[in-house]
């Protein structure tokens, strides 16, 4: 459940942030989402990876598809790739990596201030 909530927060916050701020603002969103919501290393990483990865993947795929690849095919060729859909995949993976590590950092940041559960500071 926390995984889903965290992922949704990352997607929504990043979406609105990207409308007004540079691309790296989404890393900050992911970081905070990781810091606010508790979890485990792997689950925080993947909610960042999947959240931002899918956000960029879907957004770029919509553009690729709506524009019939008019630009993505050309950019792909600049990168010596045969089809614009590879740009969609690269875009998604790249955002995923940024998202995963940022969320994980946020989570590990939170952990700096939490004691072991046995000490019972946060419950």
């Amino acid at each position: 459940m926390r995984f889903i909530i965290r992922t949704i927060i990352i997607v929504i916050a990043s979406h609105f942030s990207l409308l007004y701020f540079p691309w790296w603002s989404m890393a900050i969103c992911a970081f905070f989402a990781g810091a606010i919501i508790d979890g485990k290393n792997l689950s925080t990483f993947f909610s960042g990876f999947l959240g931002l990865g899918f956000l960029w993947l879907i957004q770029s795929f919509i553009i690729h598809n709506d524009s019939a690849g008019i630009l993505s095919n050309k950019i792909a060729a600049l990168f010596s790739l045969s089809d614009g859909v590879y740009m969609v995949i690269i875009t998604g993976v790249l955002a995923g990596l940024v998202g995963g590590f940022s969320t994980l950092s946020g989570f590990r940041f939170r952990k700096l201030f939490t004691r072991d559960k046995s000490r019972g500071v946060y419950r």
Binding site: L18, F45, D66, L71, K74, L78, F101, R108, L112
Partner: protein, 807 residues
């Protein structure tokens, strides 16, 4: 432990963000670039038009409306000229910003700022050549002009308002790829754009090569191989023209000796194929009884296209045609009364002076028995990824010293100063402004008086029935052969004595023959009383054109279009029969027989599906190379004889010693050269067939390519299916061709048609980036309607309204 668990992913995140926010070598900052919200994805438009519909605009007096038609030509309706030019700047930038800035950076010698040190040599040449120097002088004159100055300011302000509205998201894709930002536009940039054109069209000369050849060959042989005129020449101004003015004379000095010194390196030259066709036909020869005009300038085929088409309407003007992004008004076009078109007036307007300095300090140089002071100008070059470079340029009264020991060095004795009309202040924008508003021949004549460089053949036709053609520009008044070779910069009698009086420039109005044309050929015949020179007049397009115009009657718009797309290879028709006669089909292998038959049955049309042109092209190049091998194989930088001389030697001078190929033991005859070239052509074509999957046709073989200005292959278009070649009316060769085709019939109402190989949008992510190429290659045209009221416009797909910002 917890800290390490934090710092590890945190550093990775930070490294990702910073790494992806920066450019790595050729790779753009990937995070910024791939962001679907702001990165390159945001430039994907296809058929969508992403312009803002309503804009509150600073500096406008009244509301301006812009209607975009189905090929994205903007029809601009303004209430005054200030608003009109401001909107022209805005709209042009909205479509072509990157191109506008890149071209002016090239002109100013600032390409290294964008692409790094590889461009430094190019940049240094641009500044040493004096383009920035000339632009600075020109823009001062234009800015101070009470008419043009305020319009230029308005145009600049319009562009800057567009630039100021841009976020990273809105930047043209090239800025994102190369990771830089547009800077503010200035009037100087408009000046630089005009000098960019001057350099493209009047930036070449052969003074150094001629001097080299003079030394190699001697005067008599030089004159034979590089004559000032050809036997069967057909000048721009018909030979029937008589000259009825009092000529200004300039005496040839008694003892002319050209210093036989030259820079060793090859000079930077504009493409020799830059040229154009234009012609105008009198009502006596047209189907409507009213004049017609056609123009197609031939320039390097690039995307975004050099031209941007606009319709500009205000109470003082209703003009339609092609504009140059960065310059005011319409350059080639028509209004309600007149139409005009330009071709390059092929005339040498650049001369070189050999300078002798007093000493190594270069503070003084010898002139007329005295020592004159030089002016020292330090030019700084910003280079991306490297330290700035500083160049010192010395100016003499002739002009800048382009070549010295720091640049393309020969030795310390070779210092060459350039005198060029493009260095002088001039106000070409006034010509454009007035021509756009011309109502009759008198207005046209007056407008031309402001045009200096690049000199152009201005063809003209109007609704009153007049046709005319002026060879117009600022031409030095020279004595015979002055400036053909490098001159002694210390002698005052080597300087230009002045300029040919403007009214003595060659022109013709309403000739008996009923038509006037120009195609970069020799301007006038020998009766014209002023010395004129150029190294390479065109000799084929003009004759083909005039042969057709002479015989055509009841000419229609379709006839004019057909002529612009005419593929007849006149040069081939004048030499190929001689070649074929000397070949013996019985001694040939199968592939050679196929080629021989194709060439024998050829009608000399370089049509796209034909195969003979492919054979002929290689055959001819090889023949030319073998004939002039002495010129290719020398370590000196020399030009080769022009085509008309080459043909004359092949036909009439079998004993010419250059026919022998130097590095063979045999003594070759012309027939040997023919046979060798023929076999080599067949080999080349067979080789092409085995390495290409495409069918052998002329268009596949020549592979016409329209290249992106930054040479990015995916933004370019290859293998365009079109016939033609250089020296053919349809001058479409591999990388060069008709950059705008326009036909105007001055009937009532005026009918006009145009097309160009590109599209109105500069964005490779837009459908409108290259959507006109297909029509262009098919020889099709779009109708250009300059409706004086917006409500009569058809096919409007988008409307933009600019409202004055409340003060």
């Amino acid at each position: 432990m917890n800290f390490i668990k934090f710092i590890f992913p945190f550093i990775i995140s930070l490294a990702l963000v910073i790494g992806l926010n920066n450019k790595w070598g050729q790779i753009p900052p990937l995070g910024k670039f791939l962001d679907p919200y702001n990165g390159f994805w945001a430039n994907s438009e296809n058929k969508d038009i992403s312009f803002e519909e309503n804009i509150s605009f600073d500096g406008l007096n009244e509301t301006v409306s812009i209607y975009y038609d189905s090929i994205l030509v903007p029809h601009v309706y303004a209430s005054n000229d200030h608003d009109l030019y401001m909107t022209q700047g805005y709209v042009t930038a909205q479509n072509r910003l990157w191109q506008m800035e890149f071209q002016t950076h090239a002109s100013a010698g600032r390409v290294s700022e964008i692409i790094g040190k590889d461009a430094l040599d190019f940049d240094r040449y641009q500044r040493r050549n004096g383009l920035l120097y000339g632009a600075e002088k020109a823009v001062k004159l234009m800015t101070d002009d009470p008419t043009i100055g305020p319009y230029l300011d308005a145009y600049t302000a319009g562009i800057n308002q567009y630039i100021a509205s841009l976020d990273y998201k809105d930047l043209p894709i090239e800025y994102k790829l190369l990771n830089y930002k547009p800077e503010d536009w200035t009037n100087l940039k408009s000046g630089l754009l005009l000098k960019y054109m001057a350099n493209d069209l009047a930036g070449g000369d052969s003074d150094a090569e001629n001097t080299q050849l003079l030394k190699m060959l001697g005067k008599e042989r030089f004159d034979f191989l590089f004559p000032d005129s050809y036997d069967d020449f057909d000048p721009v101004i018909p030979k029937s023209r008589e000259w009825d003015f009092e000529t200004e004379t300039v005496e040839r000095p008694d003892s002319v000796s050209f210093p036989l010194v030259f820079p060793d390196d090859e000079a930077t030259e504009p493409d020799p194929q830059n040229g154009s066709n234009n012609w105008t036909v009198h009502g006596s020869k047209t189907a409507t009884g009213k004049p017609m005009l056609a123009n197609d300038p031939h320039l390097g085929l690039n995307l975004p296209s050099i031209w941007y088409v606009m319709h500009l309407n205000s109470p003082s003007v209703n003009v339609f045609g092609s504009t140059l992004p960065g310059a005011l008004g319409v350059i080639i076009g028509f209004n309600d009364s007149v139409s005009w078109g330009v071709t390059n007036a092929t005339r040498d307007v650049r001369d070189w002076y050999h300078i002798t300095f007093k000493n190594a300090e270069k503070k003084e140089y010898r002139y007329n028995g005295k020592w004159l002071k030089t002016q020292r100008v330090i030019q700084e070059f910003k280079i991306r990824g490297s330290e700035n470079y500083v160049d010192t340029i010395y100016y003499t009264h002739h002009g800048p010293i382009v070549y010295d020991k720091t640049f393309r060095p020969g030795n310390s004795k070779t210092n060459f100063a350039l005198r060029w009309t493009a260095h002088d202040p001039s106000n070409e924008q006034m010509t454009v402004h007035l021509l756009n508003r011309a109502k009759n021949y008198k207005d046209y004549e007056k407008a031309l008086t402001y045009w200096d460089c690049p000199a152009q053949n201005f063809a003209y036709a109007d609704v009153h029935g007049d046709i005319a053609l002026w060879i117009n520009g600022k031409f030095p008044l020279r004595w015979e052969e002055q400036g053909k070779f490098i001159m002694d910069g210390s002698r005052a009698d080597m300087d230009w004595a002045g300029f040919i009086p403007r009214e003595h420039n060659a022109y013709m109005k309403n000739p008996k023959q009923g038509y006037l044309s120009s195609a970069n050929q020799i301007p006038v015949d020998a009766t014209y009383p002023y010395y004129h020179y150029d190294r390479g007049y065109e000799h084929y397009r003009n004759r083909r054109l005039n042969q057709k115009l002479e015989t055509l009657e009841n000419i229609t718009v379709e006839d004019m279009m057909r002529l612009q797309n005419d593929n007849f290879w006149l040069m081939a028709s004048e030499i190929l029969p001689n070649i074929l006669d000397s070949l013996n089909r019985n001694n040939m292998n199968e592939a050679e027989k196929i080629a021989f038959d194709a060439l024998s049955n050829w009608n000399y049309m370089a049509d796209q599906a034909a195969i003979a042109p492919a054979y002929f092209e290689i055959l001819w190049n090889d023949l030319y190379r073998n004939l002039w091998d002495e010129f290719y194989d020398t370590d000196k930088s020399v030009r080769k004889p022009e085509l008309p001389v080459t043909l004359q030697i092949l036909k009439d001078h079998p004993d010419e010693k250059f026919i022998d190929i130097l590095n063979t033991d045999k003594k070759e005859k012309i027939t040997d050269l023919y046979r060798m070239s023929f076999s080599s052509a067949v080999d080349s074509v067979e080789n092409w067939k085995s390495t290409n999957e495409k069918e052998l046709t002329w268009s596949n073989f020549k592979n016409t390519t329209i290249q992106h200005l930054a040479r990015l292959a995916p933004f370019s278009t290859e293998n365009i299916q079109n016939g033609g070649n250089k020296h053919i009316l349809n001058a479409t060769s591999g990388r060069h061709g008709p950059s705008w085709r326009m036909v105007v019939s001055l009937e009532a109402p005026i009918k006009a048609y145009g097309v160009y190989p590109g599209g109105q949008s500069g964005n490779p992510g837009s459908y409108y980036y290259d959507n006109l190429i297909k029509s262009w290659s098919n020889g099709e045209y779009y109708e250009l309607e300059n409706k004086s009221t917006a409500s009569d416009l058809k096919n409007i797909i988008f409307t933009q309204t600019l409202t004055p910002k409340a003060k």
